[in-house]
Symmetry: C2
Subunit: 350 residues, 2 copies
């Protein structure tokens, strides 16, 4: 095989917001500590296929594995260049990361939750301009990120609702958090229309700032961008539209987000002129434990899962193969007879 | 294709030492500023195939391109996982990097040139222990690094001499720098025998500390390690031997280092019980401008060039193919009709 600078590149932006510490808004991790470990672990899972510094695979309280395992499974089937960008990690990760100066996001209820937003947006924009690739897929991992996505949408004056990693979307909790945030920032909904950097600094998180900057830089140099994810990526699309960019922008997500009755993803995507692709991994065709929590409506998206499924589909890889590989990745890491994930114990025997 | 965590992994440790600012000791860059840019650029070249944040391809004053282009050429022919570790970079790089806490190295003539040596060694060791791979190839890029390698060898009491990126090895300048360093550290040659971390902190550079830590951690978990490089990697081998490790350790370098009459690489490798592999890229069979400076004795090694050639050879890739690809990489980036290397200008047309 040969590699060319023009290869499709998948970029994961991994970061944190203290908004995730609010009770009942995220399933990305079994407890508050895991919420800050999850993005570092997701980055390692995607890079190495197993936790390295983080040592544990993120699993929700009810047992749903991180969607990173699905994206990793696709990466094992498809040759795609991966780059991880530090979008405000709270813990060191063994995954190599590009720095754009993003710091940990503070709670949305604070007056200035993302002081690094402007700098991260601009550094990410420069990186997006210079990245030698023709096709960029952008993914995120940030527990609590749908709440800050809602904050950004409201600050921009967009009506879209956001989805949830929980089976029951805690919309009222999120709207309460956003009201607190708007009040702390002395803003009304729509006050940051046309001012995306202000919107993300006052009401967002460092991952949204980084993704919006990356997208803006990439499209400035005619790189095709697909936002891989659900309603958090919808917020990124909104931020990019509010920079004034009117060109093509893709959104690729899972059927779980598209089918979420608490949101209307299709009409929100239409409102923002995003080319929407929805991919169903067909997990209901399997009785594997790794898939049943997704079928029950948990997780739904994250770590670019929907984008990865779309890439697999476009490359002609049957979803049955994706499911089989996902099951193998899960069994190796989390199955009944999983090798211990402590240093190298599983590596040699696999 | 599929990726497995057991894949062979090539790790580049990129960093700096202010020792490179001493006159006449390095060819890795056309002027003093480029000396600090070179490792960041090498990391980008290996990762993306072109400069990204750094914008220029390192070239010596006489026109010898960085050996990163040779290693990149091999990477385009062979599927090898790449990880870049920040071994004390002075400039930001767009290449994703793993942090082990290494800071910029100060001049060898100072009393404590590598204050981050202990921390970087231990963090790199943990990373080396946990990295899921069966076979690790370790490479370096650090201008001025042969002088600090000499410093480490002398501090450990090893007799080996170091090579040079210049056609005429400025041995006297290096020995003078080492004498100054020993004096500043109140040390005699051999005073740090059996104390590798002390040797590298007082007389080395952050890349040597990181590489020695990585190697130590990897061999502790039975990962096969090959040090890809010349006499700087010989110093890494010496550091690892002085930790007490007596097991297998490989050294893979180019014929240019092995043929350097100012050093006796073969006997030095034997003294340290390193399994030496020497690969000749056959550049003298070509009249391409990219190769003639190497044939004239410049550069010789760096950015894992010798290791990359060895990997290509073991994979059955003819050296003629490596030369052809190297010429193509060079022509694209530096040739007469090279595309401008400013942001994305070259990307679209290649």
């Amino acid at each position: 095989m040969t590699r060319s600078p023009e290869a499709t590149r998948f970029v994961l932006v991994a970061g944190t917001t203290e908004t995730a510490r609010r009770e009942g808004i995220s399933a990305a991790g079994a407890d508050a500590d895991l919420l800050s470990t999850t993005p570092a672990a997701d980055a390692e899972l995607l890079t190495y296929g197993r936790p390295v510094r983080t040592e544990t695979v993120p699993v929700s309280p009810s047992g749903c594995p991180t969607p990173a395992l699905v994206t990793r499974a696709v990466r094992e089937l498809l040759d795609v260049e991966l780059t991880v960008v530090d979008g405000g990690l709270a813990e060191p990760t063994a995954a190599p990361t590009v720095s754009v100066g993003a710091g940990v996001g503070r709670d949305i209820g604070e007056q200035d939750p993302v002081p690094t937003a402007y700098g991260a947006f601009e550094a990410a924009r420069q990186f997006g301009r210079k990245l030698p690739t023709n096709e960029l897929w952008l993914a995120e991992t940030i527990p609590g990120g749908t709440t800050t996505a809602l904050g950004v949408l409201r600050a921009l004056g967009e009506e879209a609702m956001v989805s949830s990693s929980l089976p029951e979307n805690p919309i009222e909790r999120k709207e309460q958090a956003v009201r607190e945030g708007l009040e702390a920032s002395s803003m009304e909904p729509g006050d940051a229309a046309g001012e995306p950097k202000r919107a993300v600094r006052r009401m967002g998180d460092p991952v949204l700032a980084t993704l919006a900057g990356l997208t803006t830089g990439a499209v400035e140099t005619d790189t095709a961008v697909t936002l891989a994810g659900g309603t958090q990526q919808l917020a990124v699309g909104a931020l990019v539209r509010h920079t004034g960019y009117e060109g093509r922008l893709g959104l690729a997500t899972t059927s779980y987000v598209a089918d979420d009755r608490t949101v209307d993803l299709r009409s929100s995507a239409t409102d923002l002129d995003l080319d929407l692709t929805v991919t169903d991994p067909g997990f209901d065709a399997s009785d594997h434990v790794a898939m049943e929590r997704f079928v029950a409506g948990e997780a739904k998206e994250g770590v670019g899962m929907g984008g990865a499924l779309t890439m697999a589909d476009r490359a002609g890889i049957p979803m049955a193969d994706v499911r089989e590989r996902f099951a193998a990745v899960y069994d190796d890491l989390l199955g009944e007879h999983a090798a211990d994930t402590t240093p190298n114990a599983g590596g040699a025997s696999r």
